[in-house]
C-alpha cells in the first residue's frame, strides 16, 4: 500500500546528512589536488608578490622596497616595455599564420582531400617534438656554417654567395616566426578538425542544395559552428605568446639581449643571472596581470551568440 509520505519531499533534517555526505565526498577527491595546487602554485605565487616588494639579491638580507621595483620597470629606458613588444610580436605575427594555416589544413582534411590521414599525421608531427629540440633543429637549419640547410640551398639554387645570418640578434624574432608556425600549426589543426567533424553533414547538404560554394560553406556553416573552439584557440595562442621563453632562450644560446628579451627571459635573467630577485619577481607579477588581461580581452572580443546543433 502506498503511503502519502512516499511522494512527499524529504524534510530539511533528512537532507542535511545527504549534503554533508556529498561535501565530504567532494573534499576527499578534490582535497589532495587542491592542497598540492596551493603548496606548489598558490604559495609560490604569493611569495613572488612579496618578493616583488623587496630589494633582495637572493643571497643577503632583504629590505623593503615598496613599489620601487615596479617603478623601475615602467620608467623610460627600461627593458620591460621592449620585452612586451617582443612578446606581442611573437603572439600576433605567428598567430595570424597559425590560425590561417590550421583552418585551411583542417578544412581541407575535413572535406576529404586525398591523403588526408597522412596529412593529419605529418602536420601534427612537429607538435610532439619538445620546444627545445625544435629550437635546436631550427638553429641548424639557419646556421651560417657549412651545416646550415637554408643557406646551402640559397647558395646552390639562387647563387647567394654570402650566408644570411638569420639568427643574428637583429633578425632573430623574425627568424622565430617560421619556427613557431611550424611547431604550433598541427595542434590547432587537430583542434579545429575535431570541432569540424562534430558538425552534422545535414547542414552542408542543405547549404549545397541552396547553391553554396565551398567558400560559402566554410564561411557561413563551418566557421560559425566552430567559433567557440576558434575562440579557445585564440586564447591559447595569446597565452603562449605572452609566456614565450624556450625558443628565444635556446636560439640566443642563453644570452638574450635587450633586443630579443621576452618577459619570461627577462625575468629569468634578472633573478638568476643578475641576482635581482625583487626586480625579476616584479616582472613576473606584471606578466601575470598582462596574461590575465589579454585572455579576458581575447575572450570578450571573440564572444558571440552561441549556436547549438
Amino acid at each position: 500500500m502506498i503511503k502519502r509520505n512516499d511522494f512527499q519531499r524529504p524534510t530539511p533534517n533528512a537532507q542535511r546528512p545527504k549534503r554533508r555526505e556529498q561535501k565530504l565526498f567532494i573534499l576527499t577527491f578534490l582535497g589532495p589536488a587542491l592542497a598540492l595546487y596551493a603548496l606548489f602554485v598558490l604559495l609560490p605565487a604569493v611569495n613572488a608578490c612579496r618578493y616583488s616588494l623587496l630589494r633582495w639579491d637572493g643571497l643577503g638580507t632583504a629590505t623593503w622596497a615598496g613599489l620601487h621595483n615596479f617603478g623601475r620597470l615602467l620608467r623610460s629606458g627600461s627593458d620591460y616595455l621592449p620585452a612586451i613588444q617582443h612578446n606581442l610580436f611573437l603572439t600576433f605575427v605567428p598567430g595570424v599564420f597559425i590560425l590561417t594555416l590550421a583552418l585551411f589544413f583542417a578544412y581541407s582534411i575535413h572535406q576529404g582531400v586525398r591523403g588526408a590521414r597522412l596529412f593529419r599525421i605529418t602536420f601534427f608531427f612537429p607538435n610532439i617534438i619538445s620546444s627545445v629540440a625544435t629550437a635546436l633543429l631550427w638553429i641548424f637549419l639557419y646556421s651560417t656554417s657549412g651545416v646550415g640547410l637554408l643557406n646551402n640551398l640559397l647558395k646552390r639554387l639562387f647563387h647567394v654567395s654570402q650566408p644570411i645570418a638569420f639568427t643574428e640578434t637583429h633578425n632573430l624574432l623574425w627568424a622565430m616566426v617560421p619556427m613557431i608556425v611550424w611547431a604550433a600549426t598541427g595542434f590547432y589543426m587537430v583542434l579545429f578538425l575535431a570541432a569540424m567533424e562534430n558538425i552534422p553533414e545535414t547542414y552542408y547538404e542543405a547549404a549545397r542544395l541552396d547553391g553554396a560554394s565551398s567558400s560559402h560553406l566554410f564561411r557561413y556553416v563551418t566557421l560559425p559552428l566552430i567559433w567557440d573552439v576558434l575562440a579557445t584557440g585564440v586564447v591559447f595562442l595569446v597565452i603562449g605568446g605572452l609566456k614565450m621563453f624556450d625558443g628565444v632562450w635556446i636560439m640566443e644560446n642563453g644570452r638574450p639581449s635587450p633586443e630579443t628579451h621576452t618577459l619570461s627571459t627577462l625575468m629569468y635573467s634578472r633573478v638568476f643571472e643578475e641576482y635581482n630577485v625583487g626586480h625579476g619577481t616584479a616582472i613576473a607579477v606584471l606578466q601575470f596581470v598582462l596574461v590575465l588581461l589579454a585572455s579576458l580581452i581575447s575572450m570578450r572580443l571573440m564572444r558571440r551568440e552561441r549556436l547549438e546543433y
Binding site: 639579491d57 643571497l59 646556421s143 645570418a165 640578434t169
Partner: protein, 439 residues
Amino acid sequence: MRKSFSILLLLGLVCASCRLQRDDPGRGITLEVAVFEGGYGIEWHKQMARQYERLHPGIHIDLWGDPRVDEKLKPRILRRNPPDLASCGLPVWKLIVAGKLYPLDAALDYPAYGQPNITWRQSLVKGVLSDYQYQGHTYAVPTNLGCWVCWYDRRMFRKHGWQVPRTWGEFTHLCDQIKAAGIAPLAFQGKYPYYAWATLLSLYERLVPFERWYRMEDFLPGAYTDPEFIHAARLVQEMATRYFEPGALAMTHTESQLEWVHGSAAMVFCGLWLENEMKNAIPPGFEMACFPVPVVEGGHGDPHAIYGGGGEMFFAFSDAPHPKEAVDFLKYLLSMDPARAYTRQLDTLSPVRNSERGISLSPDLQSAVDVMHASSRLFSDRIDTLFPEFTRGAEQVGLADLLAGKITPEQFGKELEAGMEDIRRDPDIYKPPPQGVPQ
C-alpha cells in the same frame, strides 16, 4: 598510518643529524669543498685533496663537483650552511658585500707551501689577486691563469708564407693576404658579442697609459667617450666588417671555432681554454699557436702588457664551520707541486709563478707561455663581475651593433657611457671605491 609516519620522521631526523654532524670526532675535521665541474673536470682537485689529507692526518676533505654547482649552493648560502670552500659562478661581489666570504689576507701574508722564503701572495703571478679586493682585503683566489690572444694554425701560415704580425698595420695587411687566398681571415663567436670586448680593451690599452685605462675600471664619467677608446672601437669595427668570416655574427663559439679548426678561417681571438674546448675536433697535424693582440702604431700604452688574469675563482665562506682550515687547503692547492701537477694534467696554466718551468708543455700551451713570459704585466677587467646588468645590457647590445656596422664608434661610446651612468645612479647596485692602477 601513524606508525609509518613516525618511522619516516625518525629516518628523516637521523639523516639530518648525519648531515649536521659534518665533523666525526674520530676523524677530526671534515672540510667540504664544492667545485664547478666543467671542461677541466675535478680529478686534479680530488688528487690534491688526498695528498693534503696525507699531510694533515686530522683533516678529511669531502670534495664534490657538479656542472650546476651554483644552484646547489644558493639555498645553502641562504640557510647559512655553505660548504667550507667553493669554486662556482655565483656573484662573488654580492657575496663579498653581503659579508658571506672569508678574507684571505692572513694566509696570503704567510709563507707559501714549499717556499718558506716568500709569502703565498708573492708566490702568485702579479695582478691575479686584484679582481676581488674589498676594503683592503682579498676574498677570492684563482686556480687558473689565462690571457687573451689570437690563435692560428702554424701549418697554414707556413704553407702560405704568412708572418705573425706585431703591429696593427701588419695585422690588417696579413688579413688582406689571407682574404686574397680565399680564406676568411677571422672566425668570430658572433652569438656572444662580448668575445670582442677583450680585443677592444686590449687595443685601448695599446693606445693609452694605464692611468687612463683604469678610469673605465673606476667607472669614472667620460671613460667610454675617451677619443682613444673610440679609436679602439673603430679598429674593432673595421676588423669585424672587413675580416670576419661571412655569417660569423650568427655563429656560436663552437660553430665559429670549428670553422677555424677546419680551415675555413685563419685566425680566432680567444683565451687559453680554446684547445681544451675543441680537443675532440682538432684534426691531426693541426698546429695551434698564438700571438698577442698587436701593438697599435702611435699608441702610448704598454706594448708588452697582456689582457689576462685568473679564472676558476675559489673562495671560503665566513658562515662555514672551518674557514681557516679551508683557506689552508686552498693555499696548498696553489702551491708549487700541486700547480705543476695542474699544468701537466690539464695542459693549462696555474697562477703560481714559474710553476710551468721544466714541464714539457704542448706546443700550443708553450706558445701561450712564451707570449706571457714576454709580457710585462697582466691586466684585466672587473666590470663583468661587478655589473652583469651593464655587461648584458649596454655592452652586449652596443657591441652587437658596432660589429654589425649599425652604429658608429662614437655612438657606441655614448651608449656605454649612458649604460654606466645608469649603474652609477642605481642605488641597488654596489660600486666599489676607485682603485686606480693595481700594483
